[in-house]
Each structure stands twice: as C-alpha cells, then as structure tokens.
Amino acid sequence: MVWSRKFICTRMTASRTTPICSLPARVTRVDHVCREHVIVTAESDQLPPSQPGQFLQLQCRDTLATDPSIHAWGPQTWPRLNLLDQTGPPILLRRPFSIADRADDGTANRFSVISRAIGPGTRWLDRLEAGMELNVTGPLGRGYALPDPDQTALLVGGGVGIPPLLYLARTLHERGHRDVRVLFGVQTHDLLPVRLSDDLPTNGHATPCLRLPGEASFPALVATDDGSAGFAGRVTDALRALHALEGDRWRRPVICTCGPEPMLKAVAAASRAMGSDCQVCLERFMGCGLGTCLSCVVRVHAPDQEKGWRWALSCQEGPVFERDRVLDYDG
C-alpha cells in the first residue's frame, strides 16, 4: 500500500458533515497496484471531513462535456472531449467508491480510492493519469462506528471490499488502537489491491504486515481461494482458524467487514458464533448517493412496522450497518 509519509493526522469527527457536490479534484497519483485494480489519489482544497466506510460518488467522465451552464454561447465553446471520453459509451450516473485513504495538510485534502475495472465507469478511472481532473461528490453515507481503543478489531475484507478497511486501519492506528488484525480474502494472489510488507516485524507480529505511516504495522492474513498465496481457502475459514488459534487472547472482538454479499453473510454468521459484534458494509446499486433516487434499499428490522421491517436507504443509513439490523444477516 502506498501510504505517503507526508500525510499528517486526519481529524476525526463524531458526526457526519454535509457533503460537497461536484467538487473538482486533481489527480496526483495513479498506481496500478495489481491486476485490474488502480489506486487513484487526488487532492482538492474543500473535501469535508470523512469517516472510514463513507464513500464518494465519482463522475467517471469528462466534466467539461457536462457543464450544465454553458455560459458562453457559440461554436467555439462546444465542449471539447478529452481522449478518455471518446473511447467508450457515455457514462451518465456517478459511480460509488469507498474512501480508501484520507489525509489533510494545511492546504490540501488528499484522498484515494481503489477501483477494480469491471465496466465502463471503472475502466475510465483505470485510464486516468496524474494531472487530470476528477469530479467528486461526498463524503457520503454512514461509516464504521469506531471500536474502543482497548477492543480487538478484526478487519475482514474481500476483493473490492478491501479499500474501506485500509482507511479504517489507518484511522484506528491514528487513534492509538493497538490490537488490530487484518484479514483479506481474494480469488488469487495478483488480485490483492494492497502491497504487504515482509519486513522483519517491529512489534512482535508475525509477517506479513499491513504497514502504516510511522512505525506501525498490523498483522495481515491473506487468504486466496486458489491457494496461490497465504491461507488457502475462504477468508471466513481463515477467520475461524485464527479464532481457534488465539481467540482467547482477544478482548471484546469487534469485526468490521466489507466485500461480496455471500462473504458478508458468512462473516456475519462466523461473528455470531464467535460472540462478537459485527458491522457490515453493503455495496448496493446507487443511483445518486444523496437519498433521492430510492434505488439503494436494504431491508432492516422495524418492530414498529406491521410487517416487522422497512426499507432503509443504504446511501443514508449505510453503507455500514450493524449486523443485527439487517434482515438476512441477523441469523
């Protein structure tokens, strides 16, 4: 993982701030970290404070082409598309991406997202270059409730669910959280969107480690479905194995997870068996991210309703939910 050491602490806010819409940001770095995945780092001077688990809505197309005002009229002001926009179908809606990193210094807010190229919008991100403009709305949604510093935090990520957990790990480190364990599951070794350090451990952890700025590192366990790296098997199997090995040393373990739906359900079940709390980050289709299109609904328990449940907008009440609030996750 490319954590720049220039970054200083991100201020944490207890409550959510108002998002900003259509903020132009400048891409400062593009890192093709592994097959199909790109880390895009950008900066602006106005991105409101964010929390791990919150997301950004990125306009995966040239903003010149879509300026609603067109102030100066005449042929010379017809929008000029850059090359990226001539290579695929037009992309209408913004695309949601978890914040993978965030750091502010005096003048700039720097953030990154990690995208896996699976369609036109994510392919557009994949072709970005440093110096280009990225138009951002956010930060949006409700992130992870941060565990107490004396709790054992288990960050369990699968595939494109890994990015928000990197930001969470960084935040926990900054808050002085010592017992953080990271479990990442991917299909195969070259789809892991993180560079793990195999340095000699500095704080007694077994390698490999997820290195964070400063001297901190958290033990990281990687599971691959095909056994090409780390633990051979599913991340939930790795979680159970780890729990059997050293679970009695964990203090009030809390699990924060994000990944594909079947994995989340398996993690929720495993967390219940372990007797730990669990927060799941659900990646539903999102049309707006702003609470108006009503596309991102999730069934949550609602004892006051006749049927016992109601639809919750995952862009407003989520994407992170407490396990037992969500139908299908509550066992």
Binding site: T18, P19, C21, S22, Q59, T66, D67, P68, S69, I70, H71, A72, W73, G74, P89, P90, I91, L92, L93, R94, T137, R284, F285, G287, C288, L290, G291, T292, C293, L294, S295, C296, V297, R310, W311
Partner: protein
Amino acid sequence: MTASDPRLQVRLGRRTLRNPVLTASGTCGYGPEYDHLLDYGQLGGFTTKSVTRHERPGNEPQRVAEVPGGLLNAIGLANVGLERFLAEKVPFIETMPTEVLVNVAGYTIEDYVVVCEAVDRVECLAGIELNVSCPNVSDGLMFGTDPGLLKEVVSAVRAVVTRGTLLVKLSPNVTDIASLARAAVEGGADGLSLINTYVGLSIDVERRRPVLANVTGGLSGPAILPLALYNVHRVYREVCADRGIPILGMGGIQNARDAVAFLLAGASAVAIGTALFVDPTAPVKIAEGIAAYLDQHGFASVSELRGQLQL
C-alpha cells in the same frame, strides 16, 4: 447574472416563478435531501416525489439501472403517504424559499380527490402536479391513456383544487398525446407537464433475466430528450398555443442548451430530473446559462423564447 435575474421570471398557471427551471418529481425527494447542496432561493420551483393516499413501500430492488444515455427506474411510487407527508414533510417545505408543487398519484378517482383536496388547503404549497402517467404500477397507467377517464379525473380534482395551480403530467406512452392534452385542458388543468418516463426493458443476457425486479421500468435521461421535445412541440402547436395553456417541459435536460430547446419548442418552464443525480445544483447553473443566452441573442425576457422555433 444570477438565477434571480428579473428577465428570467415566468408565469406557470396561477403562479409566477423566479426563473423557468424547476426540479422534476421523484428526483429531489421532499426538500431536506438537497438542503445545503442546492440553494432553493435560486430555483424556479420544486416538485415533490409523488404522494399517494396511503404509504407505499415501493418495489423490490434492483430498482434502477443505467442504460445507454439514460436511466431505467421502477421505484414503485415509494412514498410516505398523505398523512405523513402533511405531518413530516410540510414543515420543511414551509421553509423553502421557492414555489413547491406536490406531485399526486392515485389508483382511483377518490384517491386523487382526497389527496388533492388536503394538499390544496396547505398555504405554502403552490400547486399540484397530477401524475396520471407513472408506468411502474400496473393500473396507474390507465388514467393517462384514456381521454375520457383523464378528463373525468382532472374535473374531479379541479373541483377541489380551488387555490393552487393544477398541472397534469402526461405519459408519452400513448399513440396520440394531443388528444390526452386536450382532455386534461378540458377537465380544467391550468397547465401540462410533459413528459413522464417511457416504458423500457433492460435484460441481463448472462442470467437471462430482466435487470429490474419489476421487469419493466421508466426511461429517463438524455436518451429521451428528442422524444420529449417532439411531444412538447406537438402539444404546444395543437393544444396549448391558442388556449394560452403553459407547458412545463422535461425529459433528458442536462444543460442550458437543452433547456432553451424546450422553451423554443413551446415550454414556458422546464424541469430537471435525472441530471440532479449527477449534480443537484444543475438547475441553478441552467438558469444562469439561460440568462446568458438571452444576453447573447438579444432577448429581453425568457418568455420571449416560448415557441420561437422557426419552421
């Protein structure tokens, strides 16, 4: 040059709007959602999500899909219902510094009458946009496709809407939209909203299933812009121009250029829907762009643009 430029003022039915750019129903919630993002003091008007007599949970997901140049949606008229609308949503609307239209949908004439009567009594609401065209709910379609029935429901509603403006929002999923426009006007509409979404279907060929849980959905966004323009152009010439009935034009508007095209085709004002999902401030930027167009082309006011399409 601002969205409050006096040259931008227009009449829409019984009300005067600050500028000709409104938000479209179902794309801006009930107001609080875009508070702090969109300055309502710069907006010509605001249209709420459809309100029905009883609360509706809406359809199963997936409810929305992106298709080439547009959006397919089958939300299923999810809304809080009349009672909660009045109790929970109106207090915020009261604070909004813009004209607020309430979009009303129903399944029987009585449903429409009950909701419209209650809404008309609320002083801070500028009027009603009657949704007779939502393609998502099986029997919602019929009011908007049968001229006789349409005239009946509009007359019944007109009898109870004595204070506010009454717009009727037509469905484009008909063979002869002019006959429905005529029926709405004869029923007593102050103006027409054109258009609601087109019925469409998106198929996931890998799974051999429809993308939307509801199977079909309503198509919006740039893909429908030329179709919407044609409907406005036709209804303006065949029904509205002579009678002085205003049209609120919508369908795929993304920028000031698109908005001016609707005004030239005969719309008095325009509404922005899908484009809000990308940028909630789009209506303000579009109003500013229209003011710039007036400057460049030497028009003294925006109403001079109406129907100025040169054939």
